[in-house]
Amino acid sequence: MAKRRIRLIEIAHARSGDKGDAGNVGVIARDERFYPVLIEQLTVDTVKKHFEGICHGTVERYELPNLGALNFILNNTLGGGGTVSLKQDAQGKTLGAAMLRMEIEVDESLLDG
């Protein structure tokens, strides 16, 4: 089956925030047919690789099939967190958008469906 390389933003949206020094990134499928793509392509390993140089700790992934969503915890990401961090984005507000830049491969038929 023909595959197309797209950015995650085409099939998902997201919101992110802080939990101490960890960032939380919720990724939500724009349609339920895309949820299996998220499950398959947004693994702990691919997400860790995507955030190389940003996330310096482990990545945790949690599934919310009821919302067609995944929640990621990016440990050791916010430069000490909240008030201690010197980062412009000390609270991880833009991590969601950063996640959506990720490139993934999707079946053509799924995108046109």
Partner: protein, 453 residues
Amino acid sequence: MKDRIRIASGQGFWGDLFDAPYHQVTKGQVDYVMMDFLAEVTMSIMQKQKLRNPSMGYARDLPEQMKQLLPHIKAKNIRIITNGGGVNPVACKDAIFQEAEKLGIRGLKIGVVTGDDIIDRLDDLIAQGVELRNMETDAPITDIRDQIVSANVYLGAMPIVKALQNGADIVITGRTTDTGLTLAPMIHEFGWAEDDWDKMAAGTVAGHILECGAQSSGGNFLGDWRSVPDMAHIGFPIAEAYPDGSFCITKHEDTGGLVSEATVKEQLLYEIGDPREYITPDCIADFTSIRVEQKGENRVRVYGITGRPATPFFKVSASYQYGYSAIGSLTYTWPDAYEKAQAADQILRQRLRDLELEFEEIRTEYVGLNSCFGPLAPIPEEISEVVLRIGVRGKIRKHVDIFGGEIAPLILTGPPSVTGFAGGRPKPKDVIAYWPALIEKSLIRPRVLVEEN
């Protein structure tokens, strides 16, 4: 028993839209307005204000906002629930009574919840053997005892329920969970049992959706921000709750913003950890049980929520003086904007080494290029301008202060076409850090007092 109540979100943090609660009580029917003011950093700011002036230490916006609200809430039988009391809910109550006095409003009942503030009990607790170990590092709180600025327990919904039962028109709390502010009126109006975990979880989830204000009604919506109408008049969310634990998220008509499955889902995912274990003092809510369904324009039904028994602990958040930081910036323009900013960074770092200043961290970011996205951001061929943003954090205030004086000289001593230093030298700011811990619920005695003017 009512068959439905409408709980409006009036404030998502201290500094949110000032007139949001006013619009919630005047643009349509609501029964309750919840106003969340507290972030972790807020408690330490308030504690410092209270140390300077014993009648301060609460959200000062609140009495000002109440001035707008008071003439309406009695007539419409709307009750206000807020944690804006901060570290001084009693003084907050007094300030609101003063506003009522000026408006000639009598017979107003204000409930005050205290018992969350354990700063004065810390030494006794430590002497009793309560270690308040850091949930992340496992270190005992005695390690930082001398640096502690504030220490509060996150109370749940039950003290607010008691205040409502005692007839409070307004309930002022200190560190109550954001979610408890919304759950409490549901328990009160629907007569839910404290150990009906599914109901506790349902009210908690409603609270999570309301606690960040317009973030569930079209604000900060990454799904499709262009589709959100009239953000200048964004309507804050309202939970229309039913006795069975289901609720609808909506907003007043004739307001901007958007309530859709997508906006609600984004907020549900905000700042959560393991979705099966959303822990509050009232219950453990399972976010994998939540169902959402669009029921009409700007109307989303949320249902199916399940929960599990609450833990025997309250969470404690202590804040402590950690060190000092300062951040400064300069703007470099074409030609070679990025190269010049990088060169300036190297010059500055060399000077800091020559001066033998000690810092825990020196951080450089290039705003406009990659300060947020780091290695994910491609660097364009030609850059018209970039902001060099450089910050330091350390234990020695003097060293952070000296750093502040080292930035402006770069304008005359470093690479050319540089501007943007109108703000003066960055001054050292206190760095406050947080100490999360658990404490047995039996050691905490929430107190509720309702007073009428």
